[in-house]
Symmetry: C2
């Protein structure tokens, strides 16, 4: 068992601990691939279901992995940049939606029930929004590390797969800021309507990001400093959860634009920290497809969803379950007495 990543004393301390992440189990994956070639179907005919089965085998370290326990984590945070009018909804909605999650009334509750995931919601100091990133760093180093640790702690070590989602009024602006800072291009290339911004709100989103980029020019040299400059607590918690899952070899289903932008911070660290993550879907938020391309991830689903909350991840869990059901349950040509090609 490797030493835990959190708590970490500093960004430098955390960076040092990330040099030795658990790797994909090539032997288990090869055994899974060999099994796929013997099952009663033309080779490759289950397409991505075969890839997903081999992926799961490699990360779980067994040729025929199952999903006894799927965990869905939704992290919620509030954002100082809302002062700049970047969202049509009042910021109170973050608290209201957390209550809705806890009462079982949101989309993610139904979608987790439909696909068999256990949902936990982690609200991160909703009464204390991060600082407005147009006026200073959104968070200090200790705040980022604390939120990352909270994300890591929330991961159930007994989970066979982890679904990640978020809620936070204003956080599509935070995500677009992170994407612009990490990958370059104009803010307008990464900004989308989010929960339903009109042209005026879109212009305010772009202006806020441009102001933040100008202010934090120096901080953008390091991915974790970029997260501190722009990110909310839920983005940091997502990063912490992804890393904790990796330490336990738990594969992750990333949700939409905001979740993926948070994950991109880890990718930028250059240690292959997202190798155990699948892109659940590509959302209707226009920056998401571009972001997935930068990360080299092909989404499982493209259903025009743009809700967040982990909703796309919950639907994609059904595809992963299908992949493993076929992989584990099918007969081989020999077992079934079926002639090969």
């Amino acid at each position: 068992m490797k030493a835990p990543l959190f708590p970490a004393a500093s960004f430098a301390d955390l960076n040092a601990r990330l040099r030795d992440l658990p790797e994909f189990d090539e032997a288990a994956a090869a055994a899974a691939q060999a099994r796929q070639g013997q099952l009663t179907k033309p080779p490759g005919s289950l397409g991505r279901l075969e890839d997903v089965a081999v992926f799961m085998a490699g990360w779980r370290g067994k040729a025929r992995p199952g999903i006894a326990h799927a965990q869905a984590l939704v992290f919620a945070g509030n954002h100082g940049v809302c002062a700049k009018g970047v969202n049509p909804y009042p910021q109170d909605v973050t608290v209201q939606m957390v209550a809705n999650f806890k009462a079982g009334g949101a989309a993610i509750n139904q979608l987790c029930r439909a696909s068999g995931a256990e949902l936990a919601v982690v609200a991160l100091e909703l009464d204390r929004p991060t600082a407005d990133f147009t006026e200073g760093p959104a968070m200090g180093e200790a705040e980022v590390l604390d939120a990352m640790a909270k994300g890591a702690e929330a991961v159930d070590p007994n989970a066979d797969i982890l679904l990640l989602g978020e809620m936070g009024i204003g956080n599509s602006t935070v995500a677009a800021a992170l994407a612009t800072a990490l990958f370059g291009g104009a803010a307008a290339d990464w900004v989308g309507p989010g929960t339903g911004a009109d042209a005026a709100v879109m212009a305010r989103k772009i202006a806020a990001i441009e102001a933040g980029l100008a202010r934090h020019e120096a901080m953008r040299q390091s991915p974790l400093a970029t997260l501190a400059a722009f990110g909310g607590r839920e983005q940091a918690a997502i990063c912490g959860a992804i890393l904790a899952a990796r330490m336990q070899r738990i594969p992750v289903l990333l949700d939409g634009f905001i979740c993926t932008a948070a994950a991109a911070v880890l990718e930028a660290l250059g240690v292959g920290a997202l190798a155990h993550c699948l892109a659940a879907h590509v959302s209707a938020e226009p920056g998401h497809a571009r972001l997935l391309e930068k990360l080299g991830k092909t989404p499982l689903l493209a259903l025009g969803m743009r809700l967040g909350e982990g909703s796309g991840a919950a639907v994609a869990l059904g595809v992963v379950r299908a992949a493993l059901a076929a992989h584990d349950g099918m007969s081989t040509f020999a077992e079934a007495g079926v002639s090969g090609a």
Copy 2:
């Protein structure tokens, strides 16, 4: 209750009965759409899940439809055109795979279990392949109508949704022949590798279709005669099942290239016979995307699958279940005390 479509005495008789198919319930769909606008999410943010919920509402005739019973039907047939060397697998595999379905060892068994569909397999005179369509019509009118009736009879009137699939060595050639006959273009535009044809087998597929098209030039004036010229019994049974589902207002999930090519015969009748059908996925078989475009259907999934058996439909059922779970189970803004935009 409308009069049953089958048994039908002739193609002309069946055509006459198709002029009065049950239609989409606009009132139920409007009620579902109105509900979607009140649920705790930005309007439209569940993307195609919202469309699917409204589609299901319109066909089931209720604002909040459920899926208590999902039926999957796999029809199996054998094809005289296999004499022309159009498939790398021996034709015995059709019988062997039916046994595999019945024993629970095939992909479709696992995928139905994963998504909660009840599978029934209907083998259609496997010991009596249809005639080789390069030498004469594959079936006579009575044979087509008999297979259609068998397909119709297999539909459970208590199903809330019907998944359709097929098995039949050689039937990707049959499907490409139907598509070429119905939509035009060169045979080579519609032919793909199927279960794994190499260049020589592909050339034989194209040659067989070209020979069949030349021989049945006159029969191609009528879609049902085209089905008789080229089709197998499983294609006819799929048509019968689609029509029987329509009479009961049961929505249908079409599977891949072969299933969709069979359905295209009904579309060509010009009576909107596929309005209650969703394209479950777009397969890796290259003609499928083109076929879906001709039918104006956007697939729910694109996972590179190309197995048939109803496998794509079974995976897509998970998406439909997710759509209805969100639609039925979510709280409205008023119920949850969440502020709107």
